[in-house]
Structures are given as structure tokens and as C-alpha cells.
Symmetry: C2
Subunit: 294 residues, 2 copies
Amino acid sequence: MTTILGTRLPLIQGALAQLSTAPLVSAVSAAGGLGVLTTVDLTPTTLAAAIAAVRAATDQPFGVNLMLQQPNMAALIPYLIEHPVPVVTTSAGTPKAFCAALQAVGTKVVAVIPSVKVARKMVALGVDALVAEGMESGGHIGTSTTFSLVQQVTAAVDLPVFAAGGIADSTGVRAAEALGAVGVQSGTAFLLAQETPIAPAYQQALIAADDTATVVTGRALGDAVRCLANPLTAAYFAAEADGADAAALHALLDGSLGRAIAGDVDHGTMMAGQIAGKLTQVASAQAIVQAMYA
Amino acid sequence: MTTILGTRLPLIQGALAQLSTAPLVSAVSAAGGLGVLTTVDLTPTTLAAAIAAVRAATDQPFGVNLMLQQPNMAALIPYLIEHPVPVVTTSAGTPKAFCAALQAVGTKVVAVIPSVKVARKMVALGVDALVAEGMESGGHIGTSTTFSLVQQVTAAVDLPVFAAGGIADSTGVRAAEALGAVGVQSGTAFLLAQETPIAPAYQQALIAADDTATVVTGRALGDAVRCLANPLTAAYFAAEADGADAAALHALLDGSLGRAIAGDVDHGTMMAGQIAGKLTQVASAQAIVQAMYA
């Protein structure tokens, strides 16, 4: 039995900017889920290398995520039409300009959406499936919560819907299914995978986090990002309260994900969802998959 | 079969400030749930009249909500110890000073909590049950979402947990149970009860709302409130962006719930949860209960 995505399990590994590279992606796909490559900062050449590495490690389906506000999209989209992959997930924009072209070469297109309105637009566009992502997710977020969003999207559209936000184990999977989802997308849980190229200090901060350990920066900038509270986020909120302008706020945040990944847990942005409070240990990607689908 | 609260159904009607008066409360309790009286602006005399009206209408258990930041608590708490009711729910504070005294006269104490940390404090205090309330709820909210909060609270404590936030029908109930809750608290759904003394214009705004129709005011004031977006909330956010001080922001919001209830949908605060997007009609309290527990 396979899912709409060709995988054994209805589980998508959420793309992790700079982190979901070939080792994690191939391990998730080999375990039965859909590993999804990040394309942040990639060129067609480096993307080709990442895809080749996944294919060398597993014959299972995988995906490539397109963050549509990234400047490299104009180069990567034509490359993916020329060199098809099983699945493309899209976020932070509409795949309108290239959805049909990808589907014509056999690629499933899965759109990450934050509202019923955008879900309906994606249905009209003809995408293959949706990820309804709640604002408890780590990284860039909307305003609707998983519990509210998923049940309203599944009631409104006929496409397969994967729930995202707050899911790290079988409890989350069962609740997502009760809300009408066919499966889940999970991101934060895979930050603790052994295969993820992340500093141990970032992973330890995730393990230490409780249910209220995250905050949302960037609301004033129109770019809300959920991450672990730390000295950087305290400095950000202090600057915001002092009336700092957008340039000053961006100066605090720009490049800060890279700092966190490198282990600077005081000055980096440690993207994480609210479910971080439930995470207790570093484990193999396979074990993380099995915690959701035993 | 009865629940921990003595009701037939594991359903608590969330207290609605100024709105959950005797007609709604008695109708919910008669339908098998736990109707809960608001005490906002009540004195012992007017609370006694409300309780008498509920008892005249039904012999089923009901509750009284104590918003612990309200100035009338010093008068109402001694009254409820002298004149016991089946259930008291508490919010916006700790029932530490009076929990044991209420339980000694046979009252079940149910604490509404926003985090695992507060849940653990309530367990130590010996309350009878918890309501874990997500930030998709209407009115005063915390930061954790229903999906994230409920599964983390139920994993952390042994008390019965009712889930609140995003629940208006049987889909929400099943998902809450999957997250480990024994039942639910629902507030926004009962704004559309025929028995609720609310202006038709407010109810029509709820029916017209979609899944992203709510906003959160008061974050800068430390008093986050979820309500339907309208000209008042636009004015509030404009003032906040202009650097208005707390007094100016309070001047916009103070008394605004009363204006909404009276039908001023432009200048009132129409408290509502994100689940408003799923509500389609005014109905009897009994029908609303049956939509959750058929």
C-alpha cells in the first residue's frame, strides 16, 4: 500500500532550511516517509548533487522544497522541470507559474497553506495535495492554529490534506487524523535526528525546552518566525518596544539561523515549534519516524 | 454514567463574560453538558438570583466561573463557600486561597490553565480537573495552541483534562480525545445559542467570519484578547503602531465588549475563537451540544 506521494507512510518530513540535506532526507525516505530537501542557498549544480546523494542512498520517493521567496527559484524551477523528482513542496508563495509543468513531467506538487482561502486557490490550481500548517510550527508561520486550520481546510476541500504543526509522535498523528488529515508533516522533531547537520548545542536547547519555550519574532516586519526564546529574541523584542525601524530589526535577525545551526545559541535564531517541549532525545531519523507510525 | 463533574456528557460550556447567564447555563446543563455562569459584574445578590434561576430551570449540575482578576472576587468567593454550587471554574489566576474551602463544601474546582507549568501547580494544589485552553480560543488567551498544549498537559499530569480552543462539533471532540483529553470546553460555539443574550449583529458577524477572521489585541498591554477583526481592532493596531501609550490603548478597549454585545459591531470587541469560521447558524443550546456529542 502506498500513499498519494508514493510512500509507504503518509508522513512528510518538513523542509528544514539549510538542514534537510541528503543524509536526513534519504534516511526519512528509507524509513517509509517522504524526506524533503531544503533548497535554501542551492544552485542547480548543488541541488543536482544533493538529489544524486539521496538517490544513491535510497530508491524510495523523496521531495524537494521550494521556498518561493528565495532568489534562486528562477534557476531551480527550470532545473526541476528538466530533471524531474518525485515530489515538490512549495511554501511562501503560489506555484501557479510552474505547477502544471512539474506535473507534466510526473512530479507531484504539494502546497503548504495557512488558510482555507489559500487552500481553495491551490485546489483551483490543481495541486496534488495540501499541507495545512498551524502557527505552532517552527520557522515562518501564519496565524491559524493546527487544531482550527486542519478541520476547516479538510471540511472545505476534497484534496488530501497533511497536517503540520505540533506533531512529533503517534498522539499527534492520531489527532491529525481525527481533524480529517490523511497524514502529517513534521519538522521540529527531525531537528533531533542524528542525520541532521546541526550543532549539538541547538539540539540540547530543544531537549531543554518546555511547552512555552518558543516566541514569535518578526510580526512587526510581516515575517513571523517561531523560534526558541534566547538572548537574541530578547534583544529583538527590546528593540521593537523601543521603536527600532525595520532595518535595525533585520540587522538583528539576518543570518541568525546560520549562527544557531553553527552552535551560537545566544545570538542565533533556533527555529522550533511548540512541540519542542515534548522532545527528549537525539535519535535516528528512522526512530523518529517510528515514534509517529509504529 | 456520569463524568467527574457529575454531568452526562464531558462537555463544559466555557464562561462567556456578561453572556453566559441563567437561560444559556440551564439549557446547556439540561442538555447534558455543564453550563457555567459568568460572574463578571455580579454581586452576591445578583449571583444568588442567577443560581436560583438555573436551579428553577434544571436539576442538573452547573458551574460558576471565577475570573480571578475581577474586583468582585472578594465578595463572591465567601458567598460560594456559604452557598455551595456543584462546580467552580477558575481563570486568570490561582484558586490557591480558596480551593480547599470550596472542595470542603462539596464543590468541584476546575482550573483553566495555559501551560504545563501552571497545570503542575494546579495538580499540587489539588484541583479536581483542568481545562487546557489553547490560544485559538476567543477572549483572553495565552500563547500555546490547543494541539500543542493538550497533548503536553495530558502527558505531564494525571488529572482529567478538558481541551478548549477550536472545538465546536464532533470533529473537535474526537481530536481533543486523541490528544488525551477526557472532554472539551467550548465557548465560541455557544455565542450562537438562541439562549445567549447577544445582539443579532454580533451573531451575524460570527456566521460571516472565516478561519482567519480573528485578530489578537492587547499583546502590548500584557492582556491578549482574541476577537473578530473590525474597525475597532484596526484603530487599535494603528494606535499601537503609532506608539500610543497604554492609557490610550486602554481607552480604545475599555467597555468595548459591552458595546459588541449591544450590537455595535464597529466599535465593540466581538470576542471569538478561530473556530468561528466553522459556525453557520444560530441554534438552540441543545442542538449545539448535540453537534459535539450526538
